[in-house]
Symmetry: C2
Subunit: 265 residues, 2 copies
Amino acid sequence: MTFQDKLRGAVDRNNSLLCVGLDTDPSRLPPGLGIFEFNRAIIDATKDIVCAYKPNLAFYEAEGLDGLKALEDTRAHIPDDIPVIGDAKRGDIGNTATYYARALFRMLAFDAVTVNPWLGFDSVEPFIRYSDRGVFLLCRTSNRSARDFQDLKADGQLLYEHVARKALEWNTRGNIGLVVGATYPDELRRIRGLCPTMPLLIPGIGTQGGDVEVVVKNGVDGTGAGILINVSRAVLYASAGSDFAEAARAAALRLRDCINRSRRE
Amino acid sequence: MTFQDKLRGAVDRNNSLLCVGLDTDPSRLPPGLGIFEFNRAIIDATKDIVCAYKPNLAFYEAEGLDGLKALEDTRAHIPDDIPVIGDAKRGDIGNTATYYARALFRMLAFDAVTVNPWLGFDSVEPFIRYSDRGVFLLCRTSNRSARDFQDLKADGQLLYEHVARKALEWNTRGNIGLVVGATYPDELRRIRGLCPTMPLLIPGIGTQGGDVEVVVKNGVDGTGAGILINVSRAVLYASAGSDFAEAARAAALRLRDCINRSRRE
């Protein structure tokens, strides 16, 4: 089953465009709980209301081999019918990118990954060659310094628009999507205009301050879907106590329903 | 000791600007040898003739937890007075970049890392904050598709020139360097012109086809140094047989001496 099919299945079944980011920071866990135990509880509490999970590899790598073992266990615990996006933001020359693709798609069995486009086509191609997996290119990121390079104008177009156009050109297998920060709703609207049917992975809601309603309005495709709104900290750390899983479920439900209300407006 | 001091020490002691890339591919090892055993033999055979080692994380990640254990063992085997550059090409928003910096500088204890600048200053800052470590930004990479984005012209400057200028602006701690492919000698010359004293990490000699003499001429700073010429496959796989370590030493010696001859010309 392709990433797109699996995503569509989860979106429909759980009536959700909410992706939960598993950016698990050991220093923020309830006492006595390991990374995997925490993630397992979060997954068990939210798996019927999300369209995807997105672990960011940085948080696991920061814990060394133990962290990577926790990532493997986490990935294995996620039900087969929910897609898992490995947020790795890798990017390297072709020969090397082949090894990153192997690490992410084979060893870690992610259904999709995020990829940094700065090195151009031959750095992206080893990922999109896995035609049953998804590849989200970093187009306009959610951080303040995104503008340092992504907003430069070349040949009459902003850099992030160049990335969006290249993504269209490279999308011969239909498995490319874009990462666009919720914190930049105008840029989101322009990107959706350039790429009417491409899936958009949208971080930046919650702690980073993006507005759900505006994001949905500016981001959805012609069918009222085509976006994955990622929330990490506002779900994971909804409570610092032993009720963290129920609090995460309540926060995720509120977000899912808020997104769905915005879709209907 | 800072990365710069350690690098200068190794350059002087070994009279070398050669960095050996530990891009170890299990499918290319002599029969019966593991990744770490192979790397150990390569290090033992070359540690008196290199200025640095540069493992690329992709090759280790592609082997899962075993690969990462081999990377840790390899890092630990490199003598303390030779700097180790973790070629990870990470790049993420500030909060996340902090965790990548921790993974690379604390868990893996690299003296320097490569970082992708696409997300701008706040994605780079968590790395340069480690003032005793080095940070090489991907400026003009060695691959063919580098031109897809890095050669676009904005405000009268090519994108890679924007990166070089930002690197100068961000270099308040004096620990930033640039990655510039040997396969683009004209770009290398322009970048050296913009950044007269910044260390340049130069891959692309050997298998990728860059020319040592031109690279040295266009890359060195005013003191005839300031470059690290990285070679991976042409050293690691100089022989496919049981004499691989001696062959690697011979290849590394030839390269080191070829670089030094070019410096004197």
